[in-house]
C-alpha cells in the first residue's frame, strides 16, 4: 500500500501543477475545454489524494509497522478510534490530512459555486491547487508518511497517552478544517484580483465559506481548551502557549473580516481592507502551521522538530509577497463607493471593532515573537508567558466586549442623539446594575468586575434587540410571542444568528472572569482522612480520601484514587482521579510499558463551579495519596458559550431566510462578462 500511496502523492503533484499552471496562465480565456480541464484537475487531485489517504489508513488499521509513521503513533492494542485519529496525530499524517481536506474543499468550491461566478473558478482552482501542491511537495521531499523502516518491529510505539482522549479525536481536525477552509476565501480574493472583477461578487461567493471557516476555528479552539482542561491537569484551559496563540490569530482576523465585510456589502466601503484581511488570515493560518512544525518557538504542543519549517517559511514569504503585490497593483480599483457619513454610525463602530480585533491579533503575534526579537536585539533569551499576555490583552478584550454591545445599537449611516438615548438607556442600566450588585457582594477584582458589568451591558443590548424585534413582529403580523420570536430569527438569520454568536461571546467573557477566583490547595491524605476548601461562593467542600485501587482497562493499568465530596456537610458524590500506565504487547503474553504514567483528572461540573481533583501520586507505594484540589468558578460556561456560539454561527449560515419578498439582484455583470469571454459551456 505504501507504493500506491507514494504513487498517489506523485500523481497529485503532477495533477496539481497542471491545474495551477493552466489556471494562472489565463490560457483558458476563450477556450472552454481548458477551463473545464482545470476544474476536472481539481476533482482528480481530490481523487488521487483520497487514494493516498486510504493507503495510510490501511497501513494504520492493518498494523503495518514497517511504515515508520504507523510504528511511531500506534500499537496493536490501541483502541480502534485512536487508530483512526492517529492519522493526524503526527506531523506526516497531519500534512496528508491537510492536503486531502484542502483538495476536498477545492472540489466542493468548484462544484457548489453558482455558475455566475464561473469566470473566477479557474483562478480559484489555480490557487487551491498551488497550496495543495505545496503540502504534497513537503510530504514528498521532507516528511513522507509512507517512509518505510529497515526492519519491521513486532509492535508499534503507541500513541502518546495525552492524545488518547476523545477531545484529541475531534479537536485537531476541527482546527485543521478551520485553517484549511480559509484557503477558499483566499483563493476567491486572489481570483477577483487577477480577473479584476472587484465588485461585491467574490464577497458573496465566499460568504458561507468564511462563516464556515470561522466556525470550525471557533469549535477547534474551544475543543482545544476543553482538552487542555480535562487532560493536561493544570486546572486551566488557556495558557497563551505559542501554538494556542497561532490558532487564535486567524480567528481574530476572520472575526474582523466577518464584521467589515458587512460594511462592504451594505455600503460598498472597506474593499481594500477586506482584501487585506482575507490575505492576512490565510497567511496567519500558514504561520500557525509554521510555528507548530518549525520548532522556532518552544511550545508544549509542537510536533517533532524537522526541516519542514523552512518549507513553510519559504511558502509563507512567497505567498505574502505575491499576494500583497497583486493587491497593490489593483489598489485604485478598490476605492470605496461612498464616503463615511458620520462618526456616529454603525460603519464607524465596525471600523473601531476591526481596529481592536487587529490590535489584539497584533499583540498576540508580538508577544509570541518577542522572545525571538529580544534575543536578536539584546542577545538575551527571555520568556513571554501568561502575565504578559494578560496585561496587554485583557484591556483590549474588554474594549472589544464593550463594542459588541455598542455596535448593534448604532444605526447605519448616521445616528441621531435621540436615537442613541433611546437605544442605550436599558443596556447601560443593565450593565450598571450588574456591576453595582457584584461590587456590593464584595467583588474587588477590577477586571472581573468590568468584564461582568460589560457582559451585563451587552446582554441588555441583545435582549433589547430580540424583545423589540419580537414585539414589532407580533404587532405587525398578530403572531404569538414564541411564533414571532421564531420567525424573527428565521427570517433574519444573519442578523439574529449574529446576535446569538455575540451572546456566546458574552458567556465566554463571564466565564473568563470567573477564572480570577480559582482556589486550590495540595494535600496528602491517608484513607479516611479529609481536607476542606472554601469556594469563592462561601461553600465549604470536604474531600475524604476513600482509597486507591488498581485494575487493567484496555491498553493500560489504571491506578484510581477515589474521593468522597461533601458540600457544607452534605454528600454530593464520589470523584475519581487516575494514573494510567499504558503498555504495548509485542507478542502474546509479553508486555512493555510505553510512556510515563499519565494523569486523568476527576472533575465534578456544576453551573457555579467545577471541583477539579488531581491524584498526583502515592507516598512510598502505599494508598496514602497526594492530591491537588481546585475549585474553578464558572468554567462550565466556557463550554456553554462555545455551544451557543456554534448555534448562532449555524443559524447565520443556514440557507434561505431572506428578509423580504423582494427579488435578489442578479449578478448580471458576471454572466455578461462570461458570455463575452467564452468561458461558459
Amino acid at each position: 500500500m505504501t507504493l500506491l500511496g507514494q504513487f498517489a502523492l506523485w500523481s497529485a503533484l503532477l495533477v496539481g501543477l497542471w491545474a495551477a499552471v493552466v489556471g494562472f496562465s489565463g490560457r483558458w480565456h476563450g477556450r472552454p475545454e481548458l477551463a473545464l480541464s482545470v476544474t476536472r484537475a481539481v476533482y482528480a487531485l481530490f481523487g488521487v489524494l483520497l487514494v493516498a489517504a486510504a493507503s495510510l489508513w490501511k497501513g494504520l488499521i492493518t498494523h503495518d509497522f514497517n511504515i515508520e509513521y504507523v510504528y511511531s503513533y500506534t500499537s496493536r492494542n490501541l483502541p480502534g478510534y485512536y487508530i483512526v485519529s492517529a492519522f493526524w496525530a503526527g506531523q506526516k499524517g497531519s500534512l496528508l490530512f491537510w492536503a486531502i481536506v484542502l483538495s476536498l474543499f477545492a472540489a466542493l468550491a468548484q462544484w457548489l459555486t453558482p455558475a455566475r461566478y464561473r469566470a473566477l473558478m479557474p483562478y480559484v482552482a489555480a490557487v487551491t491547487s498551488t497550496v495543495t501542491c505545496f503540502f504534497v511537495t513537503v510530504m514528498l521531499f521532507a516528511s513522507n508518511p509512507f517512509q518505510r523502516m529497515a526492519v519491521t518491529p513486532p509492535d508499534g510505539n503507541g500513541l502518546n497517552p495525552q492524545l488518547q482522549n476523545i477531545g484529541m479525536v475531534i479537536h485537531p481536525p476541527m482546527l485543521y478544517l478551520g485553517y484549511i477552509s480559509i484557503t477558499i476565501p483566499f483563493a476567491f480574493a486572489i481570483a477577483a484580483l487577477l480577473s479584476r472583477r472587484l465588485d461585491a461578487g467574490w464577497i458573496q461567493a465566499i460568504r458561507k465559506w468564511t462563516i464556515m471557516s470561522w466556525l470550525f476555528l471557533s469549535i477547534g479552539i474551544t475543543l482545544g481548551m476543553w482538552w487542555a482542561y480535562v487532560e493536561l491537569g493544570w486546572g486551566g484551559y488557556w495558557a497563551w502557549d505559542p501554538v494556542e496563540n497561532a490558532s487564535l490569530l486567524p480567528w481574530l482576523t476572520m472575526s474582523a473580516f466577518l464584521h467589515s465585510v458587512m460594511v462592504q456589502e451594505k455600503r460598498g466601503m472597506l474593499k481594500r481592507w477586506n482584501m487585506t484581511l482575507i490575505i492576512g488570515s490565510f497567511l496567519l493560518s500558514i504561520f500557525g502551521t509554521f510555528i507548530t512544525r518549525s520548532g522556532v518557538i518552544a511550545s508544549v504542543h509542537s510536533f517533532t522538530q524537522s526541516n519542514v519549517g523552512y518549507f513553510f517559511l519559504g511558502f509563507l514569504l512567497s505567498a505574502g509577497i505575491l499576494s500583497y503585490t497583486l493587491l497593490h497593483t489593483r489598489w485604485d480599483q478598490l476605492e470605496a463607493d461612498v464616503p463615511l457619513e458620520s462618526m456616529l454610525s454603525r460603519e464607524a463602530a465596525f471600523l473601531f471593532n476591526n481596529l481592536l480585533f487587529i490590535g489584539i491579533a497584533f499583540s498576540v503575534l508580538w508577544g509570541t515573537l518577542f522572545p525571538i526579537l529580544s534575543e536578536a536585539v539584546r542577545g538575551t533569551k527571555i520568556s513571554v508567558g501568561p502575565p504578559f499576555f494578560n496585561k496587554v490583552n485583557v484591556p483590549l478584550g474588554l474594549l472589544l466586549l464593550a463594542l459588541t454591545g455598542i455596535g448593534p445599537l448604532i444605526a447605519w449611516r448616521k445616528a441621531s442623539t435621540a436615537n442613541l438615548r433611546r437605544q442605550f438607556t436599558w443596556p447601560v442600566a443593565t450593565g450598571l446594575l450588574v456591576t453595582a450588585m457584584l461590587a456590593a457582594a464584595g467583588m474587588r477584582n477590577l477586571y472581573a468586575l468590568m468584564a461582568l458589568g460589560l457582559a451585563g451591558f451587552v446582554t441588555g443590548t441583545l435582549a433589547q434587540e430580540f424583545v423589540r424585534g419580537t414585539t414589532a413582529r407580533r404587532k405587525m403580523y398578530d403572531e404569538s410571542y414564541p411564533l414571532a420570536f421564531g420567525r424573527l430569527v428565521a427570517r433574519n438569520r444573519r442578523r439574529y444568528g449574529g446576535y446569538i454568536v455575540h451572546a456566546g461571546m458574552v458567556i465566554y467573557f463571564a466565564a473568563f472572569a470567573g477564572y480570577a477566583f480559582k482556589t486550590e490547595m495540595e494535600a496528602t491524605l491517608k484513607p479516611g482522612a479529609s481536607v476542606s476548601l472554601r469556594s469563592p461562593y462561601g461553600h465549604t467542600y470536604t474531600f475524604t480520601h476513600l482509597g486507591v485501587s488498581q485494575f487493567e482497562q484496555l491498553n493500560r493499568v489504571v491506578t484510581q484514587a477515589s474521593v468522597q465530596v461533601t458540600r457544607n456537610g452534605k454528600p454530593i458524590g464520589i470523584v475519581n482521579s487516575e494514573k494510567r500506565q499504558h503498555f504495548s504487547e509485542p507478542a502474546p503474553g509479553v508486555r512493555q510499558k510505553s510512556f510515563e504514567p499519565s494523569t486523568e483528572v476527576g472533575i465534578r461540573y456544576t453551573l457555579q463551579e467545577d471541583l477539579y481533583i488531581v491524584y498526583a501520586g502515592s507516598v512510598a507505594g502505599t494508598e496514602e495519596a497526594v492530591y491537588r484540589f481546585t475549585i474553578n468558578p464558572l468554567v462550565v460556561w466556557v463550554w456553554i458559550g462555545g455551544v451557543v456560539l456554534v448555534i448562532g454561527g449555524l443559524i447565520t449560515m443556514w440557507p434561505g431566510g431572506v428578509v423580504s419578498g423582494a427579488p435578489r439582484q442578479k449578478q448580471a455583470g458576471y454572466e455578461v462578462q462570461l458570455a463575452g469571454s467564452g468561458a461558459v459551456e
Binding site: S383, A440, Y537
Partner: protein
C-alpha cells in the same frame, strides 16, 4: 451533561443571588487534621507514577506559590514552577526548583530577592514574563500604543472626511447659488421621486438596518 434552559437561567440566578448575599468573594482554605490511619501497599506501585513526598506546609504557602507563579520551570514545558510541579508529575526539574524556593524563603529572602536569585542563577529566561525595563518596555507598550496611535489617526482622518461630506451635503442642499433648499428651483433640478422610487428607497433603507 444535559442542561435545560430553565437550569441555565436558574444557575445564573443562583449564582448572582449567592454572590449578592454572601458578602465576600475572597476564597479561604481550611485544612482539617487528617486522621492517622494505616495505608495499605499498592499492588503495582510503579504504575502509579513516581513516589511522592507528603505535602508540606510550604507547598501550599501563598508566599511560595506566588513566587513560583512568577518563575518558569527550566524543563522546557513553558509552565510556571508551581503549575509544573502540581501538573507534570514526571518532571524532575520543578520539584527541585520548588525546594530552592523553600530554601531561599528559609534564608529570610523576600519574594523579589528570591526572583532575583533565580534570574542570577538561571538567566532572564526563568522569568515567566520579562521585567518591564529597557527594551522589554517596547514589548509591553507597543501593542497598546499601536492601537491608540492607529485609532487616533483613524479617528482624525474619518472626522475630517465626515465633515467634508457634511459640508458637501450642506452645499448641495443649499444649491449652487447658496440659496436655501427649494428656493429658485430651476427646471434642471432633480425631479420629485415617483411612488415606485420612494417604495424602493424605503426598502433599501430597511435593508441597511438589517
Amino acid at each position: 451533561m444535559n442542561l435545560t434552559r430553565r437550569a441555565l437561567v436558574g444557575g445564573i440566578g443562583v449564582w448572582l443571588f449567592g454572590a449578592a448575599t454572601r458578602g465576600r468573594l475572597a476564597a479561604q482554605q481550611e485544612t482539617q487534621r487528617p486522621e492517622e490511619e494505616e495505608a495499605g501497599a499498592l499492588r503495582d506501585p510503579a504504575s502509579a507514577g513516581r513516589s511522592r513526598e507528603p505535602v508540606s506546609h510550604g507547598d501550599n504557602d501563598p508566599f511560595v506559590t506566588g513566587v513560583e507563579k512568577r518563575l518558569q520551570c527550566t524543563c522546557g514545558c513553558t509552565l510556571d514552577i508551581y503549575t509544573c510541579r502540581t501538573t507534570d508529575f514526571t518532571c524532575t526539574y520543578s520539584p527541585a526548583l520548588h525546594k530552592e524556593v523553600l530554601a531561599l524563603q528559609d534564608e529570610g529572602k523576600t519574594a523579589d530577592e528570591i526572583v532575583a536569585a533565580f534570574v542570577a542563577k538561571y538567566g532572564e529566561k526563568v522569568l515567566l514574563a520579562p521585567k518591564p525595563e529597557g527594551f522589554n518596555i517596547v514589548g509591553y507598550v507597543l501593542p497598546s500604543l499601536a492601537v491608540l496611535l492607529v485609532g487616533g489617526v483613524m479617528f482624525a482622518i474619518l472626522r475630517r472626511r465626515t465633515r467634508m461630506v457634511e459640508v458637501a451635503r450642506a452645499g448641495s442642499e443649499a444649491g449652487p447659488s447658496g440659496l436655501p433648499p427649494g428656493a429658485g428651483q430651476s427646471v434642471t433640478s432633480t425631479p420629485p421621486a415617483t411612488a415606485e422610487e420612494l417604495a424602493r428607497l424605503e426598502y433599501e433603507l430597511k435593508e441597511l438596518d438589517q
